[in-house]
């Protein structure tokens, strides 16, 4: 891996880290167990490694954002997760924050793009 690829990978992971939590909280407004949650996120284009997602679920539960229960399904005991009351409140707050950041970034990008168009338009005149 080159230095620039390595840097990209680090920055990508950093960028994804916060988004993953939000995506997991969003998905867990409905009940899932680890593997089906992973599949559901992957179907929506968000692939998460097993070794990232499963410990993340534990951590969010420890933080009181998720509630879990063991239940038998298809002859196998599975741990099902869903948002707790605190988790729902936190999700709303985080979603607002994320939307605000997203809007700011979009505004910055579109401003930069229109600035470029202006500049290129002027140069052709």
């Amino acid at each position: 891996m080159t230095i620039s690829e390595n840097l990209f990978e680090n920055l990508r992971l950093e960028l994804r880290r916060g988004c993953l939590t939000l995506a997991v909280l969003a998905q867990l407004r409905q009940e899932y167990y680890g593997y089906t949650l992973r599949k559901a996120l992957a179907e929506r284009g968000l692939d998460i490694d097993e070794s990232t997602l499963y410990p993340l679920l534990r951590r969010l539960e420890t933080q009181g954002l998720l509630a879990s229960e063991w239940r038998e399904e298809e002859k196998r005991n599975k741990r099902f997760y869903r948002l707790s009351t605190d988790g729902e409140q936190m999700f709303v707050q985080l979603l607002e924050e994320w939307q605000a950041i997203n809007a700011s970034i979009n505004a910055t990008i579109s401003m930069h793009a229109s600035g470029k168009e202006d500049a290129s338009g002027n140069s052709t005149l």
């Binding site: 167990y33 097993e50 196998r76 005991n77 599975k78 741990r79």
Partner: protein, 346 residues
Amino acid sequence: MELLHRYLQAVKKHLPWDRQDDIIAELKANLESQLEDKEAELGRPLTKDEMEAWLKQIGPPMQVAGRYLPQRYLIGPAVFPMYWYVLRLACFWCLVIYSIVSVVQIFNGGIANGTELAGAALRVPAVLMTTAAWVTLIFAAIEFGLARNPSKRGLFANAPFDWSPSALPPAETTAGYRKRPRSYAMAVTEAIFGFLFLAWLLLIPAHPWLLLGPGAFYLDASPYQFAPVWVQFYWWVVGINVLQLGWRCVDLVRGSWQGPRRIQQNTIQALGLIPLVMGLTSPGHAYVTLRHTALDQGVYGAHLNALNHGIYMGLLVITVIAVAHLLLEGGRLSLNVYRKRVAAAR
């Protein structure tokens, strides 16, 4: 399935004992479901190679288990800036104290040789590592305490750095420098050479050959000896060097090594006049005396007078040059101050 079982067993070994069964049960259910899906997709069980590739893709057992553990620091980000600051300070002052103690010990022992000096120098890494280990240990204990009392974390991390923006040193401008600002490496090198010079200076009384070379042995065999005025002269020189070295060290610690050292240089030069004047005002301008005055006065008296006169003239010339240089620097400083005042008035 057997490989999966072995994999889960390996993961379990790295998990905390109180949660390992629960975590493994959950991980097992998730991975078995995933495996079933894979096999359903293929319409057959996974081969050994495919199974290995899948488990490898999940990750090494220790790493997978590690993700379930809380983030652990020996020294966390809140405490680290202070730890780093104290570590540098402790190592620096430890080096200073160790150097001075070593030099004084060698000097007092009176039997300093290359082996002793080399031994003292070789002990420096061990001394620094011991200091660093103690500082790290203390801060690790603080971190441990704060992990159990997180409310104190912000308080601890901010309190020692209680600061006010208006108390910050004035902005350094490079525009007025005649030369490039001094680099950190240069400032450290100057401090190290300052220490070496001081060590050399302190060794001179016990080992005059360090200053006079072979002349020290001739002096021993000659009828001449240094007058007591040189002892006072010597200690003044030592004192001025200690002051200069201390000043440089303080600059290093305060992070102000880049700026010009005009005031420092002028102060040291002004203080340097004291031993020179002391020499010039020495009673009878006697810098060298005879060991056996009554015995050798007749033979060496004329040589002695010429020698003392030569030393006196030498000291006089040096003093005149030093005073002229100081006056010149004083004039430059006054001119700069005047220019700044005029510029500020405009």
